[in-house]
Structure formats: C-alpha cells, structure tokens
Symmetry: C2
DNA sequence: GCGAGTTTTTATACATGTAAGGAAAGTAGC
DNA sequence: GCTACTTTCCTTACATGTATAAAAACTCGC
C-alpha cells in the first residue's frame, strides 16, 4: 500500500492507476448517480482497471469512503468568519461541521468509522477546543467536551439520515409507528399524550438548540 | 409477513418455523459465536430450513437485528429504582439505556436504524420525558430534549464501538494517528498541545459527565 | 374429491466485497 | 542478456444478502 506521500519507489511494476485517480472517479460516480451505484467493479471499469487492482490503492471499500469524505470535506468545508466570543465560536464551528456533513447523507457509513479527522476538519476542531479552553476549561476537559459535542453531532446525523432513508425505501409502517399506535396510557401517560405529535416533533431540526444547550451545560462549572 | 400478533390465519400452508424460533436461534448463534457468524444461511440450517424461508418471518437481515435488539432489551433492561428528583431521574434512566446498549457492541448496526423504540425501552423514554416535563418543559420541548439526549447516547455508542472495533481488526496505524502525528503547531496550537494525550483522553468514558452537562443545559431556561 | 385461493417453503440466480495466488512489468546486480 | 527481487495488476473463487419464480401444503366452497 503506497502511503499518501511516499518517499520514492525506484523499483517494481509501474502503477497504471493512482489513489487520487480512484478517489476522483469514485466521486464522479457518486455525484452523478448516487452512493449505491458505487461498486468496486463499476469503479474499476470506470478507471479502466480490474476490481482487485483497486485494492492496491485503497485498503477496502470503507477506506475508500473515508477518503471520499475527506475529499468532500476538503472541497466544501471552507473556513467561515467565526465570532469572537468563544462560546459562540464553539457553536458556529460545530454547526459548520454539522451542516457540511448533513448535506451528504451517503456519509453515514463512514461517520461512525472514526472521529472526523479529515485534515480539513481539524481547523474546526481546533476552534472548538480553543473556544472551550478560553471559556475556562483545562485542555484535557476541553478535549473531552469536544468529544461530547462530536458524539452528539455524529449521532444526530446518523440517526436522522438512516431514519429518513428507511422511510423512503420502505413504505410499510415503521416499527416505531406500530409501537406508538398502541401505547398503554396507564403506564406510559406522557408518551401517550404526545404519541400523535411524535412523528412531527422528531422531524423538526433541533440540532442547533441541542448544541447550544450542550455547550451551555459543558461550560457551566459543576 | 405475519404480524407479531396476527389475529388468525385459517388458510395457507402451515408454517414450519416461527418468527420467535428464528429470533431465538439467532440469539443463540450470536451469544455463542458472535455477530459475524450470524448469516442467513447459517441461521437457516440451524432452524432446519432454507435461507429464503426466513424471509417470510423477517423482512430482511436488518429487521432481524432490530428484533434481536428488542429481544435483548426485553431480557436485560430491567427497571431500576429511579430517584425521585426529576433531574436525577432523567440522568439515571438515560444512563441505564446507555449501559445496556454499550454492553452489546453488535448492536451498532441496528442502533442507527431508528430511535430505540423497543417496547421494553419505552418505559425509560417515558421516565425521561416525564422528568423533563416535571422540570418545567412543555411536552413538545420535552420530546425534543429527549431526542437530543438520544442522539448523544446513540452517537456515543456508535462512535466508540466502531472505533474500538476498527482498532482490533486492523493493526496498521489509524488515519487519526497518522494525522495527529504531523500537526502544524502554528495553525493548530491547541491540538498540537494535546496531541500526545489525545488517544488516552478519548479512551476515557465521559458519557455520564456529558449527559449531566447536556441535561443541565437542556433544563436551563434560555 | 376437486379446483381455487392462500400461505409457506424451496430452488435458482445475481450482485457485491474481497481473499488467494499467480502473471506482468519494471529495476538492480552481474 | 540473465537472474533475482519488487510492485502492480489480473484471474479465479468464495461468502453473503436477497430477488424471482415456482413448488408444496393447507382450507374452503362445491
């Protein structure tokens, strides 16, 4: 496996395809026809090679997706003007990451993979951690707080987009719908009370509200 | 597809296997040999049938996993004594769900599927929503706040367990490790500062701290 | 008992990711 | 040029989820 920036290779059969070429082609396919059309075979023919040849440039499909996410982040995650007040800076930086990720639902499989450690996202992470430190947290606490923010962000995207996906490619009633239509008001009064509004309530985008609450809570000394 | 509690079926070929039997066998396989050994073929032979026969009792493998999670929740999610103070009750209920889920890493694929709407988990959801209402939130706000808690909880589990999994079945250096070993101190001073501690910091279990912060933030009127 | 209708089961087939092993295409030492 | 070595590529094969269509097993109306 050639490292992204390998020193040199003076020997061996010369490569006919490059990792960059693979990624770019994959991106083209995804952009044009969606994530499910991205198969290793399809990608191989598209770059004029064979499926297994890809595996010399990419560890497996999952790594390909991670690299694709990286590529996506590098292209779309532009650094915004951040507020001066650290607390607002944290919120805006996190929201920027969230917005970028929420815009591409195909990311979900990858998101769970690791923390978002795309090089281009690191600047945002830095802003968040820095903001937390400026608000009085120790560097250690700041990192932990950042992680909490990340869990929330990743969870929101993953849960929401997979729920949405499930709704589109399956018209039968959801498990949730079935459960909710038959609650015991004696034992679950609150849920019964909101049962009919549950769907619309959960459809609302409350990421920002939740984020602000989370940041407030994280910054409140206990 | 026979509904979980179908009224009656007076006609048709009598089934030789039941959904319950399928789920139970699946559970046995998972318990004994782990999640990756659970294949539809394996399961079929284990129940003495053929792969495609399973699809009359289970929509697809994903639904099987959801049912498996349900079954697991029903067996292990016992109702604890909850504190009287609503704020504490919220925290304890959420932590109970989290603990149960964190104990079975194979759940990850399912977790993202939908909200945790296992019947046996609903009681905990009720407790959380009720606690939020008692703390002064409107029912609508309470549902939204519950969702925020759920995003955080699900995200924590998903991110952590997949990161852990990746670490075990791959000994090559993580993408994160590579990125972190080569930071630009000029542009990313905070991250550089904690780079060497990052791994150990992210290994710590901060779920409860984050949860408390989140609940505090959600309950603070803004 | 017989055909119609219904439900479950089976057989077959396909798309997909990827493991394994070997072939191709280059370089370096002789 | 020839051999050894290295890296990339290709062929083949397999496991898996599941679509499709047909067969099997039953009930009901007659």
């Amino acid at each position: 496996m050639p490292q992204p920036s390998a020193p040199r290779k003076a020997t061996g059969r010369p490569p006919r395809i490059s990792r960059a070429e693979v990624i770019e082609t994959a991106r083209r396919i995804v952009d044009a026809e969606g994530m499910d059309r991205l198969t290793m075979r399809r990608l191989a023919t598209e770059v004029g090679s064979t499926p297994m040849a890809l595996y010399h440039h990419v560890r497996n499909k999952e790594e390909l997706l991670v690299l694709l996410l990286d590529d996506y982040a590098a292209r779309t995650l532009h650094r915004p003007e951040l507020p001066a007040r650290p607390r607002e800076r944290i919120v805006v930086a996190a929201a920027a990451i969230h917005e970028a990720l929420a815009a591409c639902p195909w990311i979900v499989e990858v998101l769970t993979a690791d923390d978002l450690m795309s090089t281009s996202a690191l600047w945002f992470v830095e802003q968040i951690v820095d903001g937390l430190v400026e608000c009085g947290l120790s560097p250690e606490r700041a990192v932990q707080a950042y992680r909490v923010i990340w869990y929330y962000t990743a969870g929101e995207i993953v849960v929401r987009t997979t729920a949405a996906r499930r709704r589109t490619d399956d018209d039968r009633p959801t498990y949730r719908e079935r459960v909710f239509s038959d609650l015991d008001p004696g034992e679950l009064p609150r849920l019964t009370q909101v049962a009919d509004r549950w769907a619309s309530l959960t459809a609302e985008d409350t990421y920002l509200d939740g984020l602000r609450a989370l940041v407030d809570g994280l910054l409140t000394p206990r």
